[in-house]
């Protein structure tokens, strides 16, 4: 028999004991594994479960950075900065060794005694040791070996421009949500959306290991306003000085760009420092320029005369008999404050601010037409601005206007408006009869054509403008609205205040005007509430504020003077 190839291994005779030995040892190893598994699962399970829970993955919320509020030139009006606050659980910290305590005190930059006092002073289980630190300085606390201290990360809102912008920009609450002003009305866009991050935390909730983003936070968007910080400060300071000089209760001022409808300044007094938010007075938080309604008084007169001119009822040179300054309508009488001459032209009625004059003109007009005309200027309609509490104002219903109501509406009583609405109406006149929509956001392009509204014909607007320029010239009611180097125009208003439906001996002085008169660039409206010292007339109280603002702002905007003045030689003369 022939054998071909036989593997020598196969021929080897293996003893049976060796086979059994291998099987047995394998079984032994297997048994060890089973026993070990049983031990871990059955006997040690509690300890292991604790250990597992201690190092688990968790989603933590990462707050989004709140957007900034910027002025038209990029100056910061509101910005957030991350800060860290260190808290302690006094009950736990007191059990620390003296060594650990002094180490913590050193870390916090205070003496051990002071740390002890802090722990005594605070709550039983929670107290802040340091608040609003730069996040870096709080870092060592995050990895503190003993239990009892921790770090809260939060954002703090800063308002570098302080009180000048306080009412407009507004405030955020402790949780960083807007509660006043633009911070409140633009909150959804400023706030952004918080993100989520998957992290591994240890037993004390400390992040041991950063891991992936589940969802990145979407930071809030910046908001660029139409306001100009420089102009705002000029307006605010001018207002503040006037309120102090006349011992007034409050004041407001607004500056609008005639050509674009942008609001360049919107100032209120009294104000507050938004960076220190303890003890806020509600009267300081109110944005009077847009929320407070009052009877505007004589400021309305140019609007009435504009309608009479538009309808061809009068011409600027038409004489009006002012009857010695008293006009009886029904059983009421209307009086003039500055009455002297017997007859005034329509232009002089505006220049001298004659109540009798405008009342007589108004009585020659259709009451419904007058009502619609005022309405077209925006009275009784809420201005479309993203601010809380924007007031619409009130007008009497058009269908039942009595002659006395028409006559009083002519000089701005029986109608309530905000200062902003008056400024807007004057924007239309200054812009040759075309009203532009107002905005608080910077306009990089002119407003859309279909949002412009022609209210007066260019001829009428020019005639009214010529009359309003007389107001600031000698013989007018607001000679103190005159500015060196620039021609100005406007109208004063002195309104009796209504309290519980009765007119009281309290006044509201206002002036609304524009400059330069030859080519209007700015509308400036000023309102001083309850001036007490000496005079309360708009021409004496509010007009100088107008002049102050215009005189400072126009040169700073590089607007060329339009009034022939002293020559270059005078400019080179050294200061006296």
């Amino acid at each position: 028999m022939e054998q071909k190839s036989i593997n020598p291994l196969l021929v080897l005779a293996i003893p049976v004991w060796r086979q059994r030995m291998v099987v047995f040892s394998l079984l032994c190893l297997f048994a060890i594994l089973v026993l070990r598994a049983a031990y871990l699962q059955g006997i040690q399970d509690e300890f292991l479960q604790q250990q597992g829970e201690a190092r688990y993955e968790r989603q933590i919320e990462v707050p989004a950075m709140r957007g900034r509020v910027l002025d038209r030139n990029g100056h910061i009006l509101a910005d957030s900065s991350p800060v860290a606050s260190i808290w302690a659980d006094p009950a736990k910290v007191r059990q620390w060794s003296h060594e650990d305590l002094s180490r913590l005190a050193r870390m916090l930059g205070m003496s051990t005694d002071e740390l002890g006092r802090r722990l005594e002073k605070g709550g039983r289980r929670f107290t802040y040791l340091r608040r609003h630190l730069p996040p870096d300085e709080a870092r060592p606390i995050m990895g503190w070996p003993q239990e009892g201290v921790g770090v809260v990360e939060e954002y703090l809102r800063f308002y570098p421009q302080g009180e000048a912008f306080a009412q407009l920009v507004g405030l955020v609450d402790v949780d960083g949500q807007g509660i006043e002003g633009l911070e409140a009305s633009l909150n959804s866009s400023l706030a952004g959306e918080s993100g989520k991050r998957l992290v591994v935390q240890d037993r004390r909730g400390r992040v041991v290991q950063d891991s992936v983003w589940v969802e990145r936070p979407r930071d809030g968007r910046d908001v660029v306003l139409s306001l100009d910080a420089r102009i705002q400060h000029i307006a605010f300071r001018a207002l503040e000085q006037a309120v102090a000089r006349h011992q007034a209760r409050a004041g407001g001022a607004v500056v609008i760009d005639v050509r674009t409808g942008e609001i360049l300044a919107l100032a209120n007094w009294p104000s507050y420092n938004p960076n220190r938010r303890t003890g806020l007075d509600l009267s300081e938080v109110r944005n009077r320029v847009v929320t407070d309604l009052y009877e505007p008084g004589s400021v309305m007169k140019p609007l009435l005369v504009a309608l009479a001119l538009e309808r061809g009822v009068v011409k600027p040179e038409t004489p009006i008999d002012i009857q010695g300054g008293i006009l009886r309508v029904g059983n009421h009488s209307i009086r003039d404050v500055h009455a002297t001459e017997r007859a005034l032209t329509v232009s002089q009625v505006i220049q001298k601010s004659s109540n009798v004059g405008v009342a007589k003109i108004a009585l020659g007009l259709d009451p419904k037409d007058l009502w619609r005309h005022y309405r077209a200027f925006g009275f009784g309609t809420r201005p479309d601005l993203p601010l809380p509490g924007v007031a619409a104002g009130r007008m009497l219903p058009p269908d039942s206007l009595k002659p006395i109501e028409v006559a009083t509406m002519a000089y701005g009583h029986g109608i309530s408006t905000s200062l902003l609405q008056l400024a807007h109406a004057y924007q239309a006149i200054a812009n040759d009869g075309v009203m532009l929509p107002l905005t608080l956001m910077r306009r990089d392009a002119p407003p859309p054509i279909d949002e412009m509204r022609r209210i007066l014909s260019p001829q009428t607007a020019r005639q009214v403008k010529a009359m309003m320029e007389l107001v600031t010239q000698p013989g007018g009611t607001a000679t103190r609205a005159a500015v060196n180097g620039y021609r100005t125009a406007g109208k004063t208003g002195t309104a009796h205040k209504l309290e519980n439906g009765r007119y009281v001996e309290k006044y509201l002085a206002s002036f609304v005007g524009y400059a330069p008169a030859s080519q209007p660039r700015l509308v400036v409206a000023v309102m001083i509430d309850e001036p007490k010292a000496k005079s309360y007339y708009g021409g004496a109280v509010a007009a100088p504020v107008f002049a102050e603002i215009v005189g400072q702002v126009l040169p700073s905007l590089g607007v060329a003077p339009d009034m022939p003045g002293p020559t270059v030689a005078a400019a080179q003369r050294p200061r006296g």
Binding site: P160, H233, I234, P555
Partner: protein, 86 residues
């Protein structure tokens, strides 16, 4: 064992050593990246704080006060302004 096998064995050993080396390097780089990320966040925070600080320093009020009190400057009067067309 052929020579070819020996070469393969050498390659396997070398590759595993390199794997360890690469993993180690990756870990180091990851740490470095994390450090830089943290640094970048820290600098962001600092930048934002500096921005706020600058904004506080350049407010109209403060600049005007410094210009008037420290430098003795005054706003130009209209007759001191000479406009010219560009």
């Amino acid at each position: 064992m052929t020579r070819f096998d020996a070469v393969l064995l050498g390659l396997v050993v070398a590759s595993s050593v390199m794997l360890v080396q690469t993993k180690h390097e990756a870990r180091l780089l990851y740490l470095a990246q994390e450090n830089q990320n943290r640094r970048s966040m820290r600098l962001d925070v600092e930048w934002r704080q500096l921005q706020i600080e600058r904004a506080t320093l350049v407010t109209q009020d403060r600049v005007q006060r410094l210009a008037q009190e420290k430098l003795g400057l005054a706003p130009p009067r209209p007759e001191q302004i000479i406009p010219w067309e560009r």
